[in-house]
Symmetry: C2
Subunit: 335 residues, 2 copies
């Protein structure tokens, strides 16, 4: 099942729709649940009705008879425009190692046995085609492409073995980052804050079954393609995740329960092979620094576009849809 | 105006009530706004109606005529049982200095000019009399008493001079902490996660005017009293905040807007004078270690009770009500 949230003025949680498998059409789901957060709270109760709507939207005759809309990603908010929790792991060790060097911080002990994870801001997620207003290019504007899972109510102390039972949806996201703040905030001990402006999401949230065999072992086995201003930037494969989502969930729930609607991210998708490129600029700059002594790829300027999309090995399908955004100078009167 | 949230089964945001100034009675506010988060989103629209309810609940005759309930804090959830964002500063430098020593981490640069602030979990706040289920006393269970503000939609780049215009409510909270995770998580660069289980709140959220002169210069000028199992633990004065809430808000909004319902904490209330005691165990242990070479006060055991309450210099009023909770062994079947 594919779900999305349309923007709705005066409704910060937006308006839930069920999207066809080919992402051509959608049907209003508000009679079942007005918003995705409401659906997640009552998932077992609402899931059958949402699945019926999925059957309708996937059948041209039913769609005609019962009513549907063309699916327009530029009308979409993030699947959860705001959430109660956004946790972000760093499950690709290649990324962790490169960022340690980029930030010039000491190596973290037990990096391969204890996941790194920070608590992110969940009050203001950007839609897939929203502008990204930021105050200053001197803050070193970067993108970070990654996958995430959306959880049901998850008990404290859940084991990795049972953790995947609590995964309700899979999402694709761009964890926008401001690298100039990274080193100081990492060294402060308090973690990232000014370094992490609002995160953006692809329009479609999928139930794991929708990914078929590309969802296995608690990992999304798809390539994450990124383009910067129309130029290829990378297509690392997310199957390389060192810690699975199961292990990340168990880590997050070690000392507390996690409430429905919690989003948990994989961290930047990253492969050791430099030929596949990167899902963030900081990584490429560090690869350049190692190869030639200094980085040559600049961080983003205002006006640049970043596009992200997940695709399988053979398939030309795009299960989550596309994130494509332009970074702009923040102006208080406009944003 | 005093607001509180009663627990309501199947409604994770609870049920909004307006509480009398003496905290003896409350009136149902659900016809105005079903929940506090809804009221915060539409504050300018709903505030006049909520103020009318405050007049009703503060007048015995009106109360009789129009209906009210006795105000029962043990029926309360946190004012926001879940929120879109929980940010916690460390605005009392005495606390920051002691915790650097407690965690044995290097001093942070510019501690007195750039606020320390971490992003906390906002999905699961505890009510003032809820049990605190935690997995293991070996995690070094500690409390942290502090004040917080609840914000309206706040623009990116807001200055400290204008930031207080966005404060809607003031709250009192216990930021439960597990000290065993602190040093590793601080050194990881990713900040606190397992070290921060669910945070608890006093029952009453106040509009700043309700505090009169005790709310000034972006600070709460009240003592925060803490008792551990009935024994006095401390009463540091929160006027000693080095960074004001205005400065904390400006710091948090440097690179992004903050959405309505964001809660921003002061960090543990702390005074340099050891005679006033502490609002957390870790501080007292560090004071003991400095004085005698090793700490003598243990962290909490299961079954211990922690009580917190804010009081003014002369007054015996308790504007936020009391947080009084017992720490218990987490059992999956019960919690």
């Amino acid at each position: 099942m594919k779900l999305a949230t349309l923007k709705k003025k005066g409704h910060p949680d937006g308006h839930l729709v069920v999207v066809s498998t080919d992402a051509s059409h959608c049907v209003d789901a508000s009679a079942v649940a007005p918003s995705l957060i409401d659906a997640l709270q009552r998932w077992d109760e609402v899931r059958p009705a949402l699945e019926q709507l999925a059957q309708v939207v996937n059948n041209a005759a039913d769609r005609e008879r019962l009513g549907s809309l063309p699916f327009e990603p530029d009308q979409c908010a993030a699947p959860l425009p705001r959430a109660v929790q956004w946790l972000d792991g760093s499950a690709f060790l290649n990324h962790s190692h490169l960022m340690e060097r980029a930030f010039n911080v000491p190596p973290v002990a037990n990096l391969d046995t204890i996941p790194l994870m920070y608590q992110g801001a969940s009050d203001d997620f950007l839609g897939p085609h929203d502008e990204v207003p930021l105050p200053d290019v001197a803050d070193q504007i970067d993108f970070e492409g990654e996958f995430g899972v959306v959880l049901a109510d998850t008990p404290m102390g859940v084991s990795a073995e049972e953790a995947l039972d609590y995964v309700r949806l899979v999402v694709l996201l761009n964890d926008w980052s401001l690298r100039a703040f990274g080193p100081r905030e990492a060294k402060s001990g308090f973690g990232f804050l000014q370094a992490k402006p609002s995160t953006a999401f692809a329009p479609i949230a999928l139930t794991p079954d929708e990914l078929g065999p590309d969802w296995r072992e608690g990992r999304v086995h798809l390539k994450l393609h990124t383009w910067r201003d129309g130029h290829w930037f990378g297509h690392p494969h997310a199957g390389a995740m060192h810690f699975s989502f199961a292990e990340l969930i168990a880590h997050a729930a070690r000392t507390r329960r996690l409430k429905a609607g919690t989003i948990l991210g994989s961290g930047t998708v990253s492969n050791a092979d430099p030929k596949v490129g990167s899902a963030c600029i900081a990584e490429r700059r560090m690869v350049e620094a190692v190869a030639s002594g200094s980085p040559s790829t600049p961080f983003l300027h205002f006006g640049e576009r970043v596009r992200m999309e997940a695709r399988g090995e053979q398939s030309d399908q795009s299960p989550f849809g596309v994130i494509e955004q332009t970074v702009v100078q923040y102006r208080r009167s406009q944003h």
